[in-house]
Amino acid sequence: MTRISRKLRNWTYEKLDLPQDIVFNLPRLTLIGNKELLIENHNGVIHFSPEKLILSLSQGSLEIEGAELMIRSILPREVMIEGTVRNIKYIETEESH
């Protein structure tokens, strides 16, 4: 993301009061109990095992811990996870631009 475009986005967010997930491509998580988790705006799977699932995000990554995790379905920007969710960890990394 270039500097100018980021500034433009920031400006539209402030002026138009749009949700951040649309403007900044931030992830939106919908957690139903601890059974189902819908994550929008992910950038792909980094690690996947029954106990741990790491998804890449536009900034940083998301680590989900639990048991018997499975991907119910997956699309380029969306993923639906089923299983027992115990821990959702947001790992921030400095943007490298």
């Binding site: 799977v45 996947f48 995790l69 499975m70 379905s73």
Partner: protein, 397 residues
């Protein structure tokens, strides 16, 4: 975020992917827009997942790139069922043939019923119906429209007011409503009414024709009572004489009645013979032995087996052998006379019509001789005396 639609009909496979970079394989799948669902990782760098059958061969380049190996676990869906069926071809053919035969047989007419006809014979209706294409083993789809059929049948069957054709499944019901026609009167040729016997007229009523006699007049046998010729000799017309003429007639009866009356009575002794009937053959089962009676009557009772209303050619037959006895009864002269007169009155009514009435009776003579009563009785009877005589045309002129 859904599993693709109609996965059963499109067919899908459950595969295990292992020995490679699983995460990048999944990422590649999503990037290429290949739907994948139910991704279950197992402990050691492998995962089970489901993909559509049509996408299966598109996986190959991805597998190569990520160094994964694939193994097909389950094949689910209609395309796989079809290949299974292809192997069991005769089973499939049989199944198809079953439905085809079921369909064909149910599109035949099996039964044609005719209801509501009284005067018109069922066979006549069926013959006309057959011309219109309604008969057993006809294809239902070859039938005309039912309204048209009923119209045609109504037109072709004389004496019907309305004909309804109704189809329920494989049965055609033809409902016939007969038109009520006026009764056809028998055609009569011109005639006179003449006297059948010598009599005194007690009443005469001419419905048509010219009465020639009056009440209380004596008539001879053969005399014209009501003439069928109207008009004079120049302008004459012959008609059918109709009417009712009653007259007094004397009838003499010689009656003889025996004073000893013989009756046949059952003594109450009975012997049963039972037969098993098979077709025309009867096998006696019970009641063997000679009949111990001097005089007897045999009453046969048939009891065939029936199924619904059809008699079967087997069953049971019982012969009742009943002893009879002749008893003679002596009656008095009064009773004998009464019996004789009653017999004579029955004879009169049987011979001269049921509306004959006995006006009076007179016993002219009676005697008892050789155990019999002889009587001569004169009955005065009022009865119908008219008889028809056709008018013969004089063709010589």
């Amino acid at each position: 975020m859904k599993i693709p639609t109609l996965v059963y009909w499109r067919g899908y496979v459950g595969i295990t992917v292992r020995n490679g970079h699983l995460e990048s394989f999944i990422n590649d799948l999503t990037q290429m827009g290949i739907p994948v669902w139910d991704v279950k990782p197992s402990a050691s760098q492998s995962a089970e997942m489901k993909v559509l059958l049509s996408d299966f061969y598109a996986l190959r380049p991805l597998l190569k790139r990520t160094g994964c190996r694939v193994h097909v676990n389950t094949r689910i869906g209609f395309p796989f069922q079809m290949t299974k069926l292809k192997k069991r071809r005769f089973f499939a053919i049989g199944m198809m043939a079953f439905f085809a035969i079921l369909f064909l047989l149910s599109s035949l007419i099996w039964d044609v019923k005719v209801v509501g006809n009284v005067k018109i014979a069922t066979d006549d209706v069926l013959v006309v119906a057959k011309k219109e294409g309604i008969y057993p083993f006809q294809w239902i789809f070859r039938l005309n429209h039912l309204d048209e059929l009923s119209l045609q049948l109504n037109r072709k069957l004389p004496g019907t007011a309305w004909v309804g054709v109704d189809r329920k499944g494989t049965t055609i019901t033809i409902q016939v409503v007969e038109s009520s026609l006026p009764e056809t009167k028998p055609l009569l040729s011109p005639r006179h009414l003449i006297s059948r016997t010598d009599a005194v007229v007690t009443s005469i009523y001419a419905e048509q024709g010219l009465p020639l006699v009056a009440k209380n007049s004596r008539v001879k046998k053969g005399q014209i009572l009501i003439s069928g010729l109207l008009g004079d000799t120049e302008n004459s017309q012959s008609v059918v004489a109709k009417g009712e003429v009653k007259g007094l007639v004397w009838r003499e009866y010689n009656i003889e009645v025996p004073t000893v009356q013989k009756h046949k009575v059952y003594t109450g002794e009975i012997k049963n013979k039972s037969y098993l009937v098979l077709g025309n053959l009867g096998v006696q089962l019970w009641g063997y032995g000679k009949v111990p009676y001097a005089k007897y009557d045999v009453v046969t009772e048939q009891d065939p087996l029936t199924w619904r209303s059809t008699k079967l050619p087997m069953g049971w037959m019982t012969e009742h052998v009943m002893e009879t006895e002749e008893r003679s009864e002596v009656i008095t002269i009064e009773e004998a006379k009464k019996l004789g007169i009653e017999g004579a009155i029955r004879d009169i009514i049987a011979k001269y019509g049921i509306d004959s009435t006995i006006i009076s009776r007179k016993i002219l003579h009676e005697k008892k001789e050789n155990g019999k009563v002889y009587m001569k009785v004169l009955f005065e009877v009022e009865e119908k005396i008219a008889e028809e005589l056709p008018i013969a045309y004089n063709q010589g002129d």
